[in-house]
Amino acid sequence: MALDKPYKDVPGTIIFDAEQSRLGYWLNQFCTSLMKAENRARFLADERAYLDEWAMTEEQKQAVMARDLNRCMALGGNIYFLARIGATDGKSFQQMAGSMTGMSEEEYRNMMLAGGRSVEGNRYIGEDGDAQPHRQPQGAGSKKEGN
């Protein structure tokens, strides 16, 4: 019998469960390696060569090099592990979280100052809130893509 995964219908959200963890094992272990200063330096000096030392998929490596955190999450990454890439780049959690929405840093920061993103319309896939798939990317990101 299949496991109960009631969290699959929350928009814009990937729950890091055992299945995601299995997909992302090497991606996340690579991230953990960046907690050592010498590894951060080696990674920054030649990202491709450093990534090739890990048993990651090509898609995972491309997502890391593009700093596409949404793609990294979909491929099994977890935000607390991926945060090591952000730290290596000198980015804060707010900059990392914001980068996944399409909003500019300023737009995201202002949204938080105004009380954060509303849950209304964002509880279930199929509603009309700003985190729904049909409304991505948000903010400045939507203009860039000419939407």
Binding site: P6, Y7, V10, P11, G12, T13, I14, I15, F16, D17, A18, S21, Y25, N28, Q29, C31, T32, L34, M35, R40, L69, N70, M73, N78, I79, Y80, F81, A83, R84, G86, A87, T88, S92, F93, Q94, M96, A97, G98, M100, T101, G102, Y108, M111, M112, L113, G115, G116, R117, S118, V119, N122, R123, Y124, A131, Q132, P133, R135, Q136, P137, Q138
Partner: protein
């Protein structure tokens, strides 16, 4: 005998630690948040415990995917603040209480909770930010935290995380363990993390002020009902990282009005309560509850 006299609840947002370490607490952005802890810092001085039992979660720092203990108790003599990728926080080393920690480990395991025992680990912002909020800025070398700390790490990173019900029951077992320790010492139990926040995906930045405050009311006044809130409600209403709130139920379950899974007798005194949005991506909640004779 040892006693739990109070429980403290607080968010543990890493940016709060950064703001303190860089002396930005009086900036417009941060001032309203830190003002909410002025009372708490004085209360800590006036009600200094002998030991803090500090429930928190490790953020892929001490525990990578190599090992994922659901409940881990620190029995070491000391714990270094971890380098989480930005360099270690400049705060004092955390001194442990190996004797009480080992006693609690034995007692709680004998009450059927299968704890992992940890003799060596670094502690991340999940543990040091609550200490900083309650104790103020301290020099990493000249100063010390006011008392020994027993770190208690809960897995809330990889699902499934323990249920609210399990956490609430564990709190009751921890209280029994503390009360069977012969030394006459005063213990505080802290539950940390939360409140609503989501750090990922198109829904990043979610805050749910109404849900947070209703949950806090329930946690204080009807913890038995609060413990029954299922995981999915936290995820849907308080964001994927809002699930950290289950850790508060460990501290709540250790209060004197909870016995055999039911609430009886007077509610604990609500000494302080505070809520603020935002700290970086997160809604900050804070409360101090005391057992009054």
């Amino acid at each position: 005998m040892a006693r739990i006299t109070a429980s403290v609840y607080t968010s543990h947002v890493p940016a709060i630690g950064v703001a303190m370490d860089l002396h930005k607490t009086q900036e417009d952005y941060w001032q309203p948040l830190f003002a909410g802890y002025d009372f708490s810092k004085q209360w800590m001085k006036d009600n200094k415990p002998d030991v803090i039992f500090l429930v928190y979660n490790d953020h892929a720092t001490a525990f990578s995917l190599d090992m994922i203990p659901t409940f881990a108790i620190g029995t070491a003599a000391q714990y270094k603040p971890a380098d989480e990728g930005w360099g270690a926080r400049p705060v004092p080393v955390v001194k442990g209480h190996p004797q009480l920690a080992s006693h609690i480990a034995q007692s709680v395991i004998q009450q059927d909770f299968d704890l992992t025992i940890v003799n060596k680990m670094d502690v991340d912002h999940g543990l040091t930010v609550p200490l900083s909020l309650m104790c103020g800025e301290l020099d990493p070398v000249k100063d010390a935290w006011p008392c020994p700390v027993i770190p208690f790490a809960v897995n809330v990173v990889q699902y499934p995380v323990p249920s609210g019900q399990r956490c609430f029951a564990l709190g009751q077992a921890i209280r029994k363990a503390v009360e069977s320790f012969d030394e006459d010492i005063n213990v505080h139990i802290w539950g940390t993390g939360g409140m609503s926040h989501q750090l990922q995906g198109a829904r990043a930045g979610l805050i749910n002020r109404e849900w947070d405050n209703n949950w806090l009311d329930l946690m204080i006044n009807d913890p038995v009902a609060c413990a029954k809130v299922p995981h999915i409600d936290y995820v849907r209403e308080a964001g994927s990282e809002g699930i950290e709130l289950v850790m508060w139920l460990i501290a709540r379950g250790a209060m004197a009005d909870v016995n055999n899974g039911e609430r009886s007798g007077p509610l604990p005194q609500v000494t302080h309560r505070f809520y603020h949005v935002p700290a970086s991506n997160t809604a900050v909640g804070h409360a101090i509850l005391e057992n009054k004779e």
